[in-house]
């Protein structure tokens, strides 16, 4: 099971783990989606089944951000990726 703790989608815990936005992560980094800062664009993520609490791995940052989510891969342009706040997870 993915050990994802799904919150209400809007609460952020800034006290622990360093927060970042999706477009800041390095290739190969794994993170947990915390919240979407631009609610006008949130439906685009929802339409792919990507929610807060989802664990993602960044596969590429250019020409667009490519993520692995579960066993699938998704691409987002950098502007959209910039609206996603994530919590970095310790890598291997």
């Amino acid at each position: 099971m993915e050990e994802s703790q799904i919150g209400t989608g809007c609460t952020v815990d800034y006290t622990h783990n360093p927060s970042a936005v999706l477009s800041d992560l390095a290739k190969g980094e794994t993170a947990l989606i915390e919240r979407f800062s631009d609610l006008a664009h949130v439906r685009k993520f929802l339409s792919l089944g990507i929610l807060p609490g989802t664990s993602i791995t960044v596969l590429k940052q250019s020409p667009a951000v490519v993520l692995r989510v579960g066993y699938s891969e998704f691409a987002f342009d950098r502007r959209l990726a910039g609206t996603v706040q994530v919590r970095r997870m310790p890598g291997k």
Binding site: I6, F36, A40, S47, P52, Y71, E73, A75, D77, L80
Partner: protein, 638 residues
């Protein structure tokens, strides 16, 4: 009438009257095998592809395996909250058909992400069968799903299938045939806030139970701002996800996905900018130039046109028509220069079909391999400058096959602005495969002219997109797309798709070709065309073209490719020199969309848009023709 049979479908009952036709609706996210399951159940060929967004229209058919059932396939969606027009189509169909049995098809390995929609359907109290498709891939990843337990938890049948190898389809049919009971309505606990928003916006009495899905489909939801709507949907989705996770915790285990880099050399090559560009050019060269242009428009057309049609068919038809029918006027309708059989049918079968066929074959291979989403990723930044996003490569690439089909496919684009820009670009600067084949054939001997032609068209494409996007108000486009795995295309599937697309195309164009022949014949005998052609003559001459090119240009109004084929004919008979060929080819490439594309433009975008863009296209094509001819004459380049 139809809501009385819900409880009458009994186990083992074999008596089915015509009135108790059971509707089955296939729904679920994109790219999980819905169309393949549709094909398995109906024995038809819906187009199955390895990219999201093929099913733009709802296709329905009687089930071959399940007598008395009608199956419909819907465009992919992860929920009943639509973003694009095609998702709205799915939502409306699913909300309206209360009595249908819904086959919710999901990719088993991604069940966690997809189960919330099953929950949403069960909240609505619908009869649902959950189909866990692609079980082979799930097993390979050691995903464990206890489907019996899941079935108990949800109160609905849960069927494991591998649609590609037909596994589980018989079981699915058995379950459906035995009758699907209406399950207990499922209740999801939403935060209090959600209930409050729904009550405030719809003005209903407090504590009236309301479902978010129904609320979102109601006019009340339109009062919410984009942010409020986003917040609402997010909260609802999170609650459903929690509900689903809680169920899956009791019956499924998903090993953590690999955290490694992009796997596979080819996958890497298609996603890296510096390797992907040469790869795309190679696909263009070998696929379009060599295969469609060289083999389709060259070898195949030569063979069909010269070795078969002109050697056997035309003399045969002419001989017998002249023998049987004494009136020359009627003979002219059937055979001779503009005859239905010797012109209309010949163009359709011997000139256009091989070109379109080879293009669709190439396209099917590309789409099944999963290459197109990678091309979308690669071109996203360029397309953003044109007011589009990477996803628009799908209609644009289809446009190189058939502009009519492509105009329909613009529905996969999210905003009206993007759909308008894409429709315009398709009308102006994307030659369809039939034109392309003819153009490649006509310019094949002079690579420099071919490059110049492509350059001019590409410039018009870019400039037009750039200007439109600068001047048209609206939201900036956003790019988000699933990247399906690269797969080796399956021969059977590729052939099936090519066949069904050719079938569609042929049914679409053959009547138009034949009708065009008849209109041309009418125009000729009434003398109307002579008048129009005489009127066109100064313009045609100003472009440096022989007067004989006028009919081809005029007939191009009925179909661009029809006109293109006419020019091809002229060139074959040595009536066009190098410069004339170039100018003529350029004008016909930019020329009016064919009647069918015009009709679709009207249908999708309205009369005003269709007429205005058609006028703009005519002016541009003529202007470019005049300009290029003037330059060529002055410089003496050709």
């Amino acid at each position: 009438m139809s809501n009385c049979h819900t409880n009458t479908v009994e186990t083992g009952s074999s008596v089915q009257t015509a009135e108790t036709v059971q509707k089955l609706i296939i729904c679920g996210p994109p790219n999980v095998g819905k169309s393949l399951i549709f094909n398995r159940l109906t024995g038809r060929h819906a187009t199955v592809s390895n990219y999201p967004g093929t099913t733009v229209e709802i296709s329905s058919g009687h089930s071959a395996l399940l007598p008395g059932h009608v199956v419909s396939d819907t465009p992919g969606a992860y929920s009943l909250m639509p973003i694009t027009d095609e998702e709205r189509v799915s939502r409306d169909v699913l909300m309206e058909s209360e009595d249908a049995v819904l086959l919710h098809v999901v990719d088993a390995k991604n069940l966690r992400r997809m189960l919330p929609m099953t929950i949403e359907l069960l909240e609505l109290g619908r009869r649902v069968v959950l189909v866990l498709n692609m079980m082979d891939e799930a097993r390979q990843l050691q995903v464990q799903i206890d489907s019996t337990r899941l079935s108990e938890l949800l109160g609905i049948p849960v069927i494991e299938t591998v649609a590609t190898s037909n596994e589980g389809i018989t079981g699915l049919c058995h379950v459906i045939r035995d009758g699907i009971q209406r399950p207990n309505r499922l209740t999801v606990h939403y935060p209090r806030r959600i209930q409050r928003i729904m009550e405030t916006e719809s003005g209903s009495a407090p504590d009236t139970p309301m479902l978010p899905t129904r609320f979102l489909a109601s006019p009340a939801a339109e009062k919410l701002t984009a942010e409020e709507l986003g917040d609402f949907e997010l909260t609802v989705r999170v609650a459903r996800q929690e509900h689903g996770d809680q169920l899956l915790g009791q019956c499924a285990h998903f090993p953590p996905p690999s955290t490694g880099a992009i796997s596979g050399l080819l996958n890497k090559l298609t996603m890296n900018f510096w390797t992907a560009i040469p790869l795309a050019l190679a696909v263009l060269y070998f696929g379009v130039y060599e295969f469609v242009g060289g083999f389709g428009a060259g070898t195949l057309v030569d063979f069909l046109e010269n070795s078969v049609y002109e050697t056997y068919v035309t003399p045969f038809l002419t001989h017998w028509t002249e023998k049987i029918i004494p009136w020359v006027m009627i003979q002219d309708l059937i055979v001779h220069d503009y005859g239905v059989l010797t012109l209309g049918l010949r163009y359709a079968v011997a000139l256009i079909l091989p070109v379109v066929g080879t293009f669709f074959l190439l396209f099917s291979v590309l789409e099944d391999s999963g290459y197109l989403p990678r091309l979308a990723l690669l071109l996203d930044r360029l397309f953003k400058k044109l007011g589009l996003n990477g996803r628009a490569v799908i209609p644009i690439v289809i446009g190189f096959g058939c502009g009519t089909m492509a105009t329909v496919v613009t529905r996969i684009l999210e905003t009206k602005r993007e759909r308008i820009i894409a429709t315009l670009l398709l009308g102006f600067a994307i030659p369809c495969s039939a034109q392309l084949g003819v153009v490649l054939g006509m310019l094949a001997q002079r690579p420099a002219a071919l490059v110049a032609w492509a350059g001019i068209l590409a410039s018009i494409f870019l400039v037009l997109g750039f200007i439109t996007s600068k001047n048209m108000p609206g939201e900036a486009p956003a790019f988000y797309l699933e990247m399906p795995p690269l797969r080796m295309p399956r021969l059977g599937n590729v052939l099936t798709k090519t066949y069904s697309r050719m079938h569609w195309y042929f049914l679409e164009i053959l009547p138009l070709f034949l009708a065009a022949s008849v209109i041309i014949w009418l125009g000729n005998i009434t003398g109307l065309f002579a008048v129009i052609i005489a009127g066109m003559a100064p313009l045609v001459k100003a472009m440096g073209l022989p007067v004989e090119a006028s009919p081809a240009l005029l007939f191009g109004f009925f179909r661009r490719d029809y006109g293109a084929a006419g020019l091809f004919d002229l060139q074959n008979h040595g009536q066009l020199d190098a410069r004339q060929t170039f100018v003529a080819v350029l004008v016909i490439s930019l020329f009016l969309p064919c009647i069918a594309q015009f009709m679709v433009m009207k249908k999708e975008r309205g009369w005003r848009f269709a007429l205005m863009s058609t006028a703009a296209i005519l002016v541009t094509a003529t202007g470019v023709g005049l300009g290029v001819n003037a330059i060529l004459v002055k410089t003496g380049w050709m």
